[in-house]
């Protein structure tokens, strides 16, 4: 995917700060995008990237690339990495949504579910040894200054 913004790096925690900074840059350069849209998109991006950092093997050596396009109707991004294939449960993928943990006091397991509800589309695919996460959020509204 060709996007307006591209970032590459290794799956280490510090790379998350670079993604945060990139989304901040996007917000500054596209004032017509509603702050809520950027905020929730950023939330999803960091969850997915965090997933790659946490679960990508070999640890810290997985290379990733991030492409983001700001389109009139939506924000769209693809995060790709060359780590091992993710073991996703089929029933979670069936409707494109991941469920929140039933236990309100669970300390983990909310990452993909949170990304999923922050987005309109979240898809995972594996091809040629590359994992690709596609993230789309439809833009809800334009600011008055658009």
């Amino acid at each position: 995917m060709s996007g307006d913004y591209t970032l590459e790096g290794l799956s280490v925690p510090e790379s998350l700060d670079r993604l945060h900074d990139l989304l901040q840059q996007v917000a500054e350069e596209h004032p017509a995008v509603a702050p809520t849209d950027i905020m929730l998109f950023e939330t999803a991006v960091i969850e997915i990237a965090g997933n790659v950092v946490e679960h990508g093997r070999p640890h810290g050596t997985v290379a990733w690339s991030f492409n983001l396009a700001v389109l009139p109707e939506r924000l769209a991004a693809v995060l790709s990495d060359d780590g091992q294939e993710y073991a996703l449960e089929e029933e979670q993928l069936a409707d494109g949504r991941w469920a929140m943990p039933e236990d309100a006091f669970a300390e983990g397991g909310r990452g993909l579910a949170l990304a999923s509800v922050a987005l309109d589309e979240l898809d995972y695919s594996r091809s040629g040894g590359i994992n690709s996460w596609t993230m789309v959020r439809h833009r809800r509204e334009d600011s008055a200054t658009g």
Binding site: E14, H20, E42, L114
Partner: protein
């Protein structure tokens, strides 16, 4: 991130981004406050502009530890993104947000 304790009460100041790089430290600070005898914890998120699921996990871990020690964990000065994330995960039911640290510290 810093913690101020006064008897059974503790106020922990959150970092700018409570993501997976900061979450382990938050988890440790909350556990230490409880272990040191201050299970009535307010986490001041006035400076925190972003939280992710690992940050939420650290807060839930602190909440559980605090309640087991007869206290509680409450959030103060929650910003837009944090509030959205709490709502989307339904965690606003157990991690209660208060407008100020003072409000959160009343009526334990």
């Amino acid at each position: 991130m810093e913690v101020r304790t006064e008897g059974r009460r503790a106020v922990v100041t959150g970092p700018t981004r409570l993501n997976m790089t900061a979450a382990p430290q938050m988890r440790e600070m909350l556990a230490k406050a409880v272990a040191d005898g201050s299970p009535q914890i307010v986490v001041d998120l006035g400076k925190t502009t972003f939280v992710d699921s690992s940050g939420l996990g650290a807060l839930v871990g602190g909440l559980k530890a605090a309640r087991q020690a007869g206290g509680d964990l409450r959030l103060a000065q929650v910003g837009d993104q944090v509030l959205q994330v709490l709502t989307l995960t339904s965690l606003n039911r157990v991690l209660r947000p208060f407008p100020t640290v003072e409000d959160a510290s009343r009526e334990w």
